[in-house]
């Protein structure tokens, strides 16, 4: 009895509610998010695009990470024939986490005829291909190799076979709520089994 606030055995005095406790809360949250300081959001993403992407995340997914990277704004072509989508990827938030799955989400217009849309990687290899029936548009997903997410940025080209022009980005129907994005799902790296010895 008669102990001061806090617990001598634990050696951590409990701060009274106020600035000290708020600093403790900030520190605790940043540590658990593996962040050294709070991020400064430089490139604002329209709330509509965020809401649209969040509706496509895996609701109620068990423990794990999901990272959504939005395509850079501005024209989706770099002036060359082969257009491209550019993404600034963030690495998995912690060292013991690996990307296990990545998907590209594209908001597409309905094509006038049956076409085949190909996603080409930075080195020109075809990463993913999907056939689009005439008249079908909306959000479409293309699976990407998880290893791509290890790059600091990702440049993808879209080629359309059967379109009047090979520029696949002409099929995109971009808008504030319709920004192409990549969703990567990460999970804790499986550690070697630890045998406890008594």
């Amino acid at each position: 009895g008669g102990m001061a606030m806090g617990c001598p055995g634990c050696g951590v005095p409990t701060p009274a509610p106020g600035p000290a406790l708020l600093e403790l809360a900030k520190r605790q949250l940043l540590d658990r998010l593996h962040l050294s300081e709070r991020p400064n959001v430089t490139r604002a993403v329209p709330r509509a695009a965020v809401a649209s992407a969040l509706r496509r995340l895996h609701p109620g997914r068990a423990q794990g990470y999901e990272i959504v990277s939005f395509a850079e704004t501005g024209p989706y072509t770099t002036g060359t024939l082969v257009p491209e989508l550019r993404f600034e990827l963030s690495q998995a938030p912690a060292r013991d986490v690996e990307i296990v799955e990545a998907q590209l989400w594209l908001p597409l217009r309905a094509p006038g005829a049956n076409v085949t849309l190909q996603v080409m990687g930075p080195d020109g290899t075809a990463l993913s291909t999907r056939r689009l029936a005439a008249g079908t548009g909306g959000w479409l997903t293309f699976s990407l190799p998880p290893g791509l997410h290890g790059l600091p940025s990702l440049h993808l080209a879209l080629l359309c076979h059967g379109c009047t022009h090979p520029d696949g980005t002409r099929l995109l129907s971009p808008g504030p709520a319709r920004r192409p994005f990549v969703v990567a799902r990460a999970q804790a790296r499986a550690r070697g089994r630890r045998v406890g010895k008594r």
Partner: protein, 114 residues
């Protein structure tokens, strides 16, 4: 586990809600709007430790029986979390990507005397 009342001295759970708008973090944390930074505070007199619902574990119950029989060498009982739950966070990282993550054992839900 007890929730702290203004005048409680026994080991209890102190609710403390941190609103991210109040600390200027609502621009980069999309969800939730804040989080319960609950913590454990209060004393663990000998007669309390080890009683059902307060002991953090069988080990602490034995330790407290040792103390209750005032055998030398008993340590201090501490008011510590005995149950926690995860916190799901959705935030913008410095590249303006959205990260959704679940932080295990983040919210203290119950306290007990170890």
């Amino acid at each position: 586990s007890l929730r702290c009342a203004p005048d409680s001295a026994l080991c209890c759970l102190q609710d403390y809600y941190v609103d991210f708008r109040n600390i200027g973090w609502h621009d980069w944390i999309i969800k939730p709007e804040g989080y319960q930074l609950n913590y454990c505070v209060g004393q663990c007199p000998l007669h309390v430790a080890g009683s059902p619902g307060m002991a953090a574990s069988f080990h602490s119950a034995v330790l407290n029986l040792v103390k209750a029989n005032s055998i030398a060498g008993a340590g201090h009982a501490c008011c510590v979390p005995t149950h926690r739950r995860p916190l799901s966070v959705l935030y913008f990282d410095r590249g303006s990507n959205i990260v959704k993550t679940d932080i295990p054992d983040m919210i203290v839900e119950a306290c007990g005397c170890s």
